[in-house]
């Protein structure tokens, strides 16, 4: 049984695979139903626009399959960047689009006249959750112009400050998600992935 990295045509899957390989976590990149159903954990990566991401998930019916595996069967799940944003109720990039709806809230453009957008580079996170305490104030790599506003603050696992405060990570039961890229965050990124799989899969 291995970890499946969901292939839905949204960019950079190679770097997450490379990170899991170095951690010796058996994994595969796939969009096949049987592979996803049999996997012990699911990673939803992704870069790109929200509406394109949802369109690709729907066209391949991965939206239904993922919801069944993650919400109903409680399979450990890690969403990264766009993969975090897609689990929201809806997004707005570039137009209002319904998301997977696992975590209540919406994904909106960062508006800040003082700051350069995208929020791009290494920034320290503030943990608000036990799992993330090991990573409190550590730097992770961010690259995003949209942020996830949650309805229920208890589901926020970490925040990041860039002018305003934005959600850096989410946890609800078996659902974990990060706005930052652990697979691109060198030492602490690998530590985060290692901890996630040790405790959850």
């Amino acid at each position: 049984m291995s970890v499946v990295i969901i292939d839905y045509g949204m960019g950079n899957l190679a770097s997450i695979k490379k990170a899991l390989d170095i951690l010796r976590i058996p994994n595969s990149i796939s969009s096949q139903k049987n592979v996803i159903s049999q996997a012990k954990a699911i990673i939803l990566p992704g870069v790109g626009s929200f509406s394109k991401g949802m369109e690709n998930l729907k066209n391949s019916e991965l939206d239904k399959l993922l919801t069944e595996e993650v919400v109903r069967n409680k399979k450990p799940f890690l969403g990264i960047c766009l993969g975090m944003q897609l689990i929201s109720t809806f997004g707005t990039e570039p137009i209002e689009t319904e998301g997977l709806g696992w975590i209540e809230g919406s994904v909106k453009k960062i508006i800040d006249s003082e700051k350069r957008i995208p929020h791009l580079g290494w920034n320290n996170i503030h943990s608000t959750n036990n799992f993330f305490n090991d990573f409190n104030e550590k730097d992770f790599y961010f690259i995003h112009s949209y942020h996830f506003e949650l309805e229920n603050e208890t589901e926020i696992a970490a925040m990041v400050n860039y002018g305003g405060n934005y959600v850096a990570a989410i946890q609800k039961d078996n659902i974990f998600a990060t706005q930052f890229h652990p697979e691109k965050s060198q030492e602490y990124g690998l530590k985060f992935l290692s901890k996630f799989f040790k405790e959850n899969a």
Partner: protein, 248 residues
Amino acid sequence: MLKVRVIPILTFNGFALVKTKNFLNPRMVGNPVQAARVYNSRGVDELIFLDIFATKQNRKINLKVVGDVIKECYMPVGIGGGVKSIEDVNDLLRIGADKVVVKNAVFQNPNFIKQATNYFGSQCISVSVDAIRIDGQYKILNDLNKDINLESFISIIQDLGVGEIILNAVDRDGMMNGFQIDLINQTSKFTKLPIVCVGGGGDLSHYQELFDKTDCEAVGSSSIFHFTQYTPLDIKNTIKNVGKPVRL
């Protein structure tokens, strides 16, 4: 707090790493894969790899070499050179690029840039802005002999939805005589996109001046790493002493 990024820039001629002066006279400086391995071990914040001859020689970037470079990197990597189509962007993303750097395509096929930023998101597309001072004005050096000034070019790329500017001071490229402060301050006024300031870093005092006199949040360098004993860490310590946040 967001940290200042220190980014080695590797320029490639199709066979080996090269370093130019004023964008001319490429001199061979080594092997890209070995260089990437060293920078990864030094914990640099990002890496940029550019095939600076791909467009001129009308060829595609060598995906095998790029793939081997990316394999060495556990930090984000931007790749550029001869990128003309959605397929080119996809090819680079598939082998692990985080950002794709474009330049000539802005002139040749602006629709492609628009499509790419819509599809992959703004954050995925960076533009190399190669500025050269002519008669007291900054113009954009390009392979298509288009006459365009800095401000107009930035306004065009902003409208195309790109996510970052890699600002090359052509006059300072490879000269190791200090950054073009005036160019950086002008550009910073024209745009709220993140800017990587490149060209002229040859001594730690140049980095001190850059961070003292501009609001620079990311700096790209090559020569100082190829031709001096200074490391990215030395530069970060200098930036820290100026009072700007860095990741050590």
